[in-house]
């Protein structure tokens, strides 16, 4: 196994943990909050899920910078100036900034959750697509539209789950 393959595996594991944890954080929170009460057990489950998400983010960032070094040392630097690479860097920065804003309670949870889950999936999609003809601004515009759509969908799902059930 080459060093490059090890980096790819580390990067994929980081993404899988992050995307999976972001998905289950949303599922758990929506499910636990149906009765508007988060019990201690439910809080522990959410805390564990967020810990997994942070571990994924750590692996993603470290392997991402290890890729950067690999490309730099092998003089293969074209990837470092591609729009999708910078869009991915921006989205990872949004994931970190969003987590800080949520922790400081400076952003409503509904918005923060939509930003978090969309950002993780956007990073995954950009990683899979690789090279694209879209510019940096175009990618970020798609990303913002996706956040709005996901936010509205989550809002609709929560409202539907909270609605009185017909007997």
């Amino acid at each position: 196994m080459t060093f490059y393959e090890l980096l790819v595996i580390m990067h994929v594991i980081g993404t899988v943990l992050g995307v999976g944890a972001a998905t289950f954080a949303e599922i758990h929170y929506t499910r636990f909050n149906i009765d508007d009460i988060i019990t201690d057990d439910e809080r522990k489950t959410l805390t564990t899920t967020y810990t997994v998400m942070r571990a994924g983010l750590f692996l993603l960032v470290i392997s991402g910078f290890a890729f950067l070094l690999y490309f730099r040392l092998t003089e293969n630097v074209a990837a470092l100036t591609s729009p999708s690479f910078w869009a991915k860097m921006t989205i990872v920065a949004v994931i970190v900034g969003n987590a800080l804003l949520l922790q400081a309670r400076m952003v409503p949870f509904a918005i923060g959750a939509a930003v978090s889950i969309t950002s993780w999936y956007a990073a995954l999609v950009l990683g899979v697509i690789g090279k694209t003809n879209a510019t940096y601004v175009e990618i970020l515009m798609y990303y913002v539209v996706a956040i709005v759509l996901v936010g509205l969908s989550l809002r609709w799902i929560r409202a539907w789950l909270h609605a009185p059930k017909k007997l």
Partner: protein, 148 residues
């Protein structure tokens, strides 16, 4: 590039990124009303140590290799601003980071024995400033590497 210089570059980048990540974790904890100051203080000192390690290794790389082998290629390339603006800014602003990191570590060490809400908030703000500078420095580094 020799193996020694490549190793120094790897230590500079990975050490710096981990130190920035530690500041992120410190900030997350300082935003709580009752953080675990023992954990935060240990992390803050580790971060300061890593920033100094990143600083020393980058200084050696810069003085012995970058100026003679990398800088001319960037200046002759498609984006000379990667050196004239981003590297020049990075190398000066980065000087502040290790000392910001030490200030944060000293504050968190003081908070271990003297918990104080105002100092916690001020330290959180200082950590936020260090985090922003760290991220900007890392992004500049990527841009410089990509402009060769």
């Amino acid at each position: 590039m020799t193996t020694t210089l490549a190793t120094l570059l790897i230590i500079h980048v990975i050490g710096g990124v981990i130190a920035i990540g530690m500041h992120n974790v410190i900030l997350m904890h300082l935003l709580k009303k009752a953080p675990n100051y023992v954990f935060v203080s240990r992390l803050a000192w580790s971060s300061a140590g890593l920033f100094f390690l990143s600083w020393v290794t980058s200084a050696y790389y810069y003085v012995t290799y970058y100026g003679s082998a990398v800088k001319p290629r960037i200046l002759a390339g498609a984006m000379p601003a990667a050196h004239t603006f981003f590297m020049e800014t990075k190398e000066h602003i980065f000087l502040v980071l290790p000392f910001l990191a030490i200030s944060i570590a000293l504050c968190t060490m003081y908070l271990r024995s003297n918990p104080d809400d105002d100092l916690r908030k001020s330290t959180a703000f200082l950590t936020f400033v260090a985090l922003v500078i760290g991220v900007a420095t890392a992004a500049s580094g990527v841009l410089v590497s990509g402009s060769i």
